[in-house]
């Protein structure tokens, strides 16, 4: 899929976080997130953002009203935060991540269109702490950080989300878990990925437990919804786009599977999984988990 190759070709590729070439791709040091930190991956994440926004019919599910302050934890490309800044022009919107989004850097350099005036980036690692005082935000959002948060850190991360939310404000999480019913090759691929993630303490099923963690952290009015989407060329447009996103993203694991699979085995299994999931007989699905809750008054 060449789309990822040309989408952001005009933007500068400034990295302020140390990166190393590992497995043939640039990856950030100092965080357990294993996927690359390069232009191709940034473009894939933007593609994923548009896909999820369309699939879930918007950028959030919680009944947030008119928030005056919004925090996006693990803001990545910054796309979600910038769109929220445009949607809520009177709100202060902050994207938090270890690295500024390339789009911010490009805007500062005059390459991209200017950033929304009510949007800003803040540097921080949610695994360490969220660098804001208690009760700073009306709405705190976190999406697809399951590959970045080790299992034993999840309760702390959720407690941090709650801490920086003002009483009566909302926290929302959107996570995915392992693809299901993808056939033997996909099962093998998922096993390899899970083995790799386990080396860094990451447990894919944790993405489905955020609602429980919100309740344990004292949140009220918690709503946790599991959404199972069809995945693969056999399905509707969303299913095809999810497969495009996945099979471009999964390339990022290549080169990291030493002791798990050879590069040749990886290529073969990815190709087989792609073929299997194209078939309606396989019926592959992609589980998503949307949870939101309110900090008590």
């Amino acid at each position: 899929m060449r789309w990822f190759g040309w989408f952001r070709r005009g933007a500068p590729t400034v990295e302020s976080t140390p990166v190393a070439m590992i497995g043939g791709r640039a990856r950030k040091l100092g965080i357990p997130y294993v996927l690359p930190s390069d232009l191709e991956e940034m473009n894939r994440l933007d593609f994923q953002h548009f896909l999820l926004r369309q699939t879930f019919k918007g950028n959030f599910a919680a009944p947030i009203g008119e928030p005056r302050s919004i925090l996006d934890v693990g803001s990545g490309t910054g796309r979600w935060a910038r769109e929220m800044a445009q949607l809520f022009p009177s709100a202060r919107v902050v994207g938090l991540d270890v690295n500024p989004p390339p789009a911010d850097t490009a805007a500062e350099a005059g390459v991209n269109e200017p950033l929304p005036p009510n949007y800003e980036f803040a540097a921080g690692n949610v695994l360490e702490s969220i660098p804001f005082p208690d009760a700073s935000f009306d709405f705190v959002h976190m999406r697809l950080l399951v590959l970045a948060i080790p299992h034993d850190r999840w309760p702390y991360v959720v407690s941090e989300l709650v801490r920086v939310t003002r009483p009566g404000g909302w926290v929302e999480s959107v996570e995915a878990t392992t693809l299901q019913h993808g056939g033997p090759a996909m099962d093998m691929l998922m096993d390899w990925i899970n083995t790799l993630l386990a080396r860094r303490g990451i447990n894919f099923p944790d993405g489905g437990k955020v609602g429980e963690l919100m309740r344990a952290a004292g949140m009220v009015n918690v709503t946790a919804t599991d959404v199972t989407l069809p995945f693969g060329e056999y399905g509707d447009r969303t299913a095809k786009l999810l497969a495009t996103d996945f099979f471009n993203g999964v390339k990022g694991y290549g080169g990291l599977l030493q002791g798990i699979a050879t590069p040749e085995q990886f290529e073969q299994v990815v190709a087989a999984a792609r073929a299997d999931t194209a078939s309606p007989q396989t019926g592959c699905v992609s589980p998503f988990h949307i949870a939101y809750g309110q900090r008590p008054w």
């Binding site: 302020s16 976080t17 040091l29 100092g30 965080i31 270890v98 690692n125 360490e128 080790p150 860094r200």
Partner: protein, 64 residues
């Protein structure tokens, strides 16, 4: 080997304070210069049988 990325100067100071204890058991601490946005990557080399929590509990070190 373990890595973490920190932004809180107090936490970086905790690592610096633990450095002599880590070196005493044969380990090593590398603290990189802060990035443009103030993030600090720290690499710990610990002898077998030791974990970061024994020296600097609560910080987000992960095994590499």
């Amino acid at each position: 080997m373990y890595q973490a990325m920190l932004s809180n100067p107090a936490n970086v100071a905790r690592v610096r304070a633990a450095q002599p204890h880590i070196e005493q058991v044969g380990g090593k601490v590398n603290i990189a210069a802060p990035t443009k946005v103030g993030m600090v990557v720290i690499v710990l080399y610990l002898p077998e049988g030791y974990t970061p929590d024994q020296f600097i509990p609560g910080l987000p070190f992960y095994p590499v």
